[in-house]
Amino acid sequence: MSGVPAGGRSPLDRVKRVALYAVLLVMAAFYLIPIETGLMTSITDPATYTGQSPFLPPMEPLVEGSGRLSLQPWGNALAGLASGLVNSVILVVPATVFSGLLGSMAAYGLTSVDWRGQVGVYALFIAGIFIPYQAVLVPLTQFWYNVVPLRTLWVPLANLPLVAEHHWKLVALIVTHTAYGVPICTLLFRAHYKKLPGEMIEAARLDGASVSTIYRRIVLPLSVPMFAVVFIYQFTQVWNDLLFALTIIQFGDASVVTQELVGIGVSQSGTNFPLRMAAALLAALPTLVVYVLFGDKFAEGVTA
C-alpha cells in the first residue's frame, strides 16, 4: 500500500482489513445459516418442534423450546424418498455419461477432423443450447406418449431381471436429458479440443492411427479433466431437474427424487418441517458426493 515500511501497517490498512473480514464473516453467516438451520431442524423430534428458533441445536430439556434430539426425520426421509432416489440414480448415471461421451465425440468431430460444412453443423449444436425448456414441454409429452410407442416396445423387456414396466419412462427421460445435454457438453469439449496441439494430432495420423483410434488413444485420455467438469455439471443438472420429470414421468412408480420431495412431509394436519429438511438435505447429498469425487479433476479442467 502507500509507503508503509515492510512489516508494519498503517491504521488505515488495519481498518480496511477489519472491514474486509467483517464483511466476509457476515457473508459466510448469511450463506451458511439457512443450511445450518435446515440441519438443526432435521435432527429435531417433529413432536417437539416449535419453530421458534430453528437454527439452535435441539437441546431439550436443557433449553426450553429448542426441541428434542431425534434422528427419526432422517429415517423417515430415507424411507419416503427411497424409490425416488433409486429412480434418480437409474436416470442420472446414464444421462450424464451419454451426454458427456456424445458431446466429446461431437466436439472431436467438429474440431480435430476436417470436413465441409462443419461450421453449419456446429451452429445447430449451439442453437440447441438456447431452446427454452418451456417451448418443448408439450412436444415432449406428445413425442413420448403418442409418436414413439416406447411404452408398448418396453413390455417384453419388463420381464428381464431388475427391469420393471414403469422403467420405460426413465428411459424416455434419459434420452431427453442426454439430447438436451449434448450441445453444452459439445461446447465445453470443443473449447478444450481447440487447445490441443494440431501437430500432435497430425503426428498420430502419420503414425498410422485412424480417426477413431486418435480419439480413443490420444484425445479421450487427454479429456479427463474436461469430463470431470462435464460430469459434475450434467449430474447436478439432471439430478435437480423437476420440469422434464413432471412432463415425461408425470406420476407413478417412476417418479424421481425431486418429484417425491415436493410432497414429503406435507399433510392436512400441517407441515412436518424436520422431515422436509431431512428430505431436502438427503436429496442434495449425491451432488455433494460427486463434487468431492471429481473435485480435483474439476479444478484442473476449469483452470486448464
Binding site: 501437430e199 502419420l206 503414425d207 498410422g208
Partner: protein
C-alpha cells in the same frame, strides 16, 4: 527407402471471397534414395506447405508426388510410410517415452508385442534415451524431448523422414551438437530425408543438396557450395551466406558500371555475358572484398571508403563501409576481414573488389555472371 519425386506440385489456398493464395507454385524436385535434402527459404515461402503435402497433411492442388514409383497424392498420411518430426516435437503428453515410440508401430504394423518392445529398446539405445523410456514428456528437458521425437520417427523405419525445423526450439549449443548427430544418424540409416529450415547454417552444413524456395517458387536446387558460389539469381545469392552478399544497383555505360558513388570497369571477358542489359545489380560477397589502409592499391577496382560500423564476431570482423563520396544516409556495404585486424570507426580505407569475384544480375534478378571459381580450391574435391 525410396526416391521421392515432386512434379509440378502446386498448392492453392482459398482465402474466401474467391481470393486465392498460391503457396507453392509448380515445384519440381527429385530427392534421391538416401539423400538429405534441405528445403530452405524465408518464412512464408511455402517450404512447410511443401513438406506437409509430402506428408499428406495438405492436399495437392495440382501436380504429382511419387514415393518410389507409387503416386501418393491421394494416399492418406497413415498409408504413406513416412515419418515426420515436428518443430514442437508433438509428443503424446499422456504416454511415456516408451508409449510414444510404441504408438506408431502398434498402429501401422502388425508386429507382435515383444517385437515392438525389442525395436523400441534398440532404437532408444541408439538414441541414448534408454534411461528415459518410462518417463512422461513433461519430465524431460527440451533436448531430451527432441531426441524422443527423433526416436519416435526412426523406430518406424519409414521410407522417408520429413523434418520441420526440428532444431529451432533448442539453444544454440545443443542445436550445433544435434545438427552433427542428425547428419550422422541420417548417414547410418540411409533414409531419404527432407529437412525444412529457415536457418541457413543448417542448410549449408547438413544437406547433400539444398533447395531454395521463395514465394512458392523453387529458385535453385544444388549442393550447398553450388548455391553459394553460383547462385541462379539474386534471391539465392542474397539468401545463402551470412553476412549476405553486397548488392549495388548499377547502370552500364559502355564498359563501365556506374553506381551511386562509384564506377566499376567491366572486363572484356564479362561483356558478352551481360549482353545488352543496361540496368544491372553487382554483387560481391563480404569475404571477397580486400581491405587495405588509406594509401593502399590504386587500381580501377579500388575505392576510397570510410568505416561506418565494426562488428567483431571473434574469428572475423564485419566492417560496414561507405564509399568516400557517398551520402551519409546511403546503405553501407559489408566487408569481412580477419578478427585480428584492427579497424576503427571513421578510418579511411581502400576497398578492392576483385573482378573475378563479382556476380552480375540482370534486371529480372537472373544471374548473368557468377564469380569465377579459378581462385577457389576444392569446390569439387
Amino acid at each position: 527407402m525410396a526416391q521421392l519425386t515432386l512434379e509440378e506440385v502446386t498448392k492453392v489456398f482459398n482465402a474466401g471471397d474467391s481470393e486465392e493464395i498460391v503457396a507453392v507454385d509448380g515445384v519440381d524436385m527429385e530427392i534421391e534414395d538416401g539423400e538429405f535434402l534441405v528445403l530452405v527459404g524465408p518464412s512464408g515461402c511455402g517450404k512447410s506447405t511443401t513438406l506437409r503435402m509430402i506428408a499428406g497433411l495438405e492436399t495437392v492442388t495440382s501436380g504429382e508426388i511419387r514415393l518410389g514409383s507409387r503416386r501418393i497424392n491421394d494416399t492418406p498420411p497413415a498409408d504413406r510410410n513416412i515419418a515426420m518430426v515436428f518443430q514442437s516435437y508433438a509428443l503424446y503428453p499422456h504416454m511415456t517415452v516408451r508409449g510414444n515410440m510404441r504408438f506408431g508401430l502398434e498402429e501401422s504394423t502388425d508386429m507382435a508385442d515383444d517385437a515392438i518392445e525389442a525395436t523400441v529398446e534398440e532404437t532408444a539405445t541408439m538414441m541414448g534415451i534408454e534411461d528415459l523410456l518410462d518417463r512422461k514428456p513433461s519430465e524431460l528437458s527440451g533436448g531430451q524431448q527432441q531426441r524422443v521425437a527423433l526416436g519416435r520417427a526412426i523406430v518406424r523405419d519409414p521410407e522417408a523422414f520429413l523434418m520441420d525445423e526440428p532444431l529451432s526450439n533448442l539453444d544454440a549449443k545443443l542445436r550445433a551438437t544435434m545438427r552433427t548427430e542428425l547428419q550422422r544418424l541420417q548417414n547410418e540409416l540411409g533414409v531419404t530425408t527432407v529437412y525444412v529450415t529457415h536457418d541457413q547454417t543448417e542448410a549449408m552444413t547438413m544437406g547433400d543438396r539444398i533447395a531454395v524456395l521463395n514465394g512458392g517458387v523453387l529458385q535453385q536446387v544444388g549442393t550447398p557450395l553450388e548455391c553459394y558460389h553460383t547462385p541462379n539469381n539474386r534471391f539465392v545469392a542474397g539468401f545463402i551466406g551470412e553476412p549476405s552478399m553486397n548488392f549495388f544497383d548499377v547502370t552500364r555505360d559502355d564498359d563501365t558500371l556506374e553506381g551511386d558513388a562509384f564506377a566499376y570497369p567491366l572486363s572484356a571477358e564479362t561483356r558478352p555475358a551481360v549482353g545488352d542489359a543496361t540496368t544491372l545489380t553487382l554483387g560481391v560477397r563480404p569475404e571477397d572484398i580486400e581491405l587495405a589502409a588509406d594509401d593502399g592499391p590504386d587500381t580501377a577496382h579500388s575505392f576510397d571508403c570510410v568505416v561506418d560500423v565494426v562488428e567483431p564476431v571473434g574469428e572475423s570482423n564485419n566492417v560496414y563501409l561507405r564509399f568516400a563520396g557517398a551520402a551519409e544516409d546511403s546503405n553501407p556495404f559489408i566487408v569481412r576481414i580477419s578478427g585480428t585486424r584492427n579497424v576503427a570507426v571513421g578510418d579511411r580505407v581502400t576497398a578492392t573488389i576483385p573482378p573475378a569475384s563479382v556476380h552480375l544480375f540482370g534486371p529480372d534478378g537472373r544471374a548473368l555472371k557468377n564469380r569465377s571459381l579459378d581462385d577457389v580450391d576444392g569446390v569439387s574435391p
